[in-house]
Symmetry: C2
Subunit: 204 residues, 2 copies
């Protein structure tokens, strides 16, 4: 694309372009921004990502990113540890906890099964989920994975593993988003929302 006049700049652009969603043009814009930033701030920037990568730990129970051996959610006695919500990654934990509607605990898989990306069950925190489920403490497992083919595949894999145990297995509701116009809802969602209709219980 370009002949960079500096190897140092080129290296930095190549590294920045490895970030997800960042092309070489954006990476160059970032590198030029960093060149206008005081050196000590650029050092703090570099150090923060390296330190995170080297020192971050994962909760021994739910596998969420944490600074402690047991994360704040798992360690909170007010959370219902008999209900476990299975999610793909930390963003889902934060999103669900942000709703204020959930008082149970989580289990972070660290990804979902994706043959295309070469991610199999052995690459995910599934063994530790089975272990938790078979400990006798868990009553319900809520599958809250993405509503994609990969999410459905992972749901089905987990269902097969968890079904023999005496545990309620549920799945987050799928349907028309609240506030959405029906005409703007995609066909698959709309079709399924009719098939999977629920009893009307009046205004809530």
């Amino acid at each position: 694309m370009y002949n960079f006049p500096s190897r140092l700049l080129e290296n930095a652009v190549n590294e920045l372009a490895k970030l997800p969603g960042i092309g070489r043009k954006t990476a160059l814009r970032m590198a030029l921004h960093l060149l206008r930033t005081p050196p000590e701030e650029v050092e703090a920037f570099g150090a923060s990502v390296v330190k995170m990568r080297q020192e971050v730990i994962y909760c021994s129970r739910c596998k969420n990113i944490s600074d402690k051996e047991l994360c704040d959610i798992c360690a909170n006695p007010k959370r219902d540890s008999s209900t476990v919500c299975v999610v793909e990654d930390i963003r889902d934990v934060m999103a669900i906890d942000n709703t204020g509607q959930y008082t149970g605990v989580y289990h972070v898989l660290g990804g979902i099964i994706s043959p295309i990306e070469g991610i199999g069950p052995q690459d995910l925190n599934i063994g530790s989920l089975i272990e938790r489920a078979s400990s006798g403490e868990v009553k319900e497992i809520i599958l809250a994975l993405p509503t994609t083919i990969e999410g459905d595949t992972t749901n089905f894999y987990l269902f097969k593993k968890l079904n023999p145990m005496k545990i309620t297995i549920s799945m987050i509701a799928r349907g028309v988003s609240i506030g959405d116009e029906l005409e703007h809802t995609d066909e698959v969602t709309l079709g399924r929302s009719i098939l999977n209709r629920t009893p009307y219980e009046g205004m809530k």
Copy 2:
């Protein structure tokens, strides 16, 4: 927005969100990507930007980013050093050089005058441009700054400074982009392209 379960993650997200055009959501996606990247690659990432910031130098003549005291363009005896193209930053040097239409040299201002962003003439490489222009070696200065109010302001400022010297001052042509439909060209560009029409010289 979110309560991060890890201070290390939060720090890295805050730092990544300082990059231009990156919000906290994207920064979190980047941080999670880095957590899945081997530690030695994250170290190379961090080191590349810090090294660039610490070690990059600027060409002593044209102020472009360079690894050498005199950049490859300024050091190239085949380039016409009597024609100097004034640009905002290195991206413009690369874009213009990529066209293969320009054989002169450059002068990189490192920005343009922008009262809103608090950037005045003293923050730019203007003193060194005046010095080059008054050395007697320069015959023409081509202003190739953005076609914005800030670009026009900077053009006018430079014109006032350079006009007393015996130098041709020109500006890159402005008009309808080649390959564009007239109906899709903005009004200002189209209006000016009629006012500033040029003699028709047949097919080139």
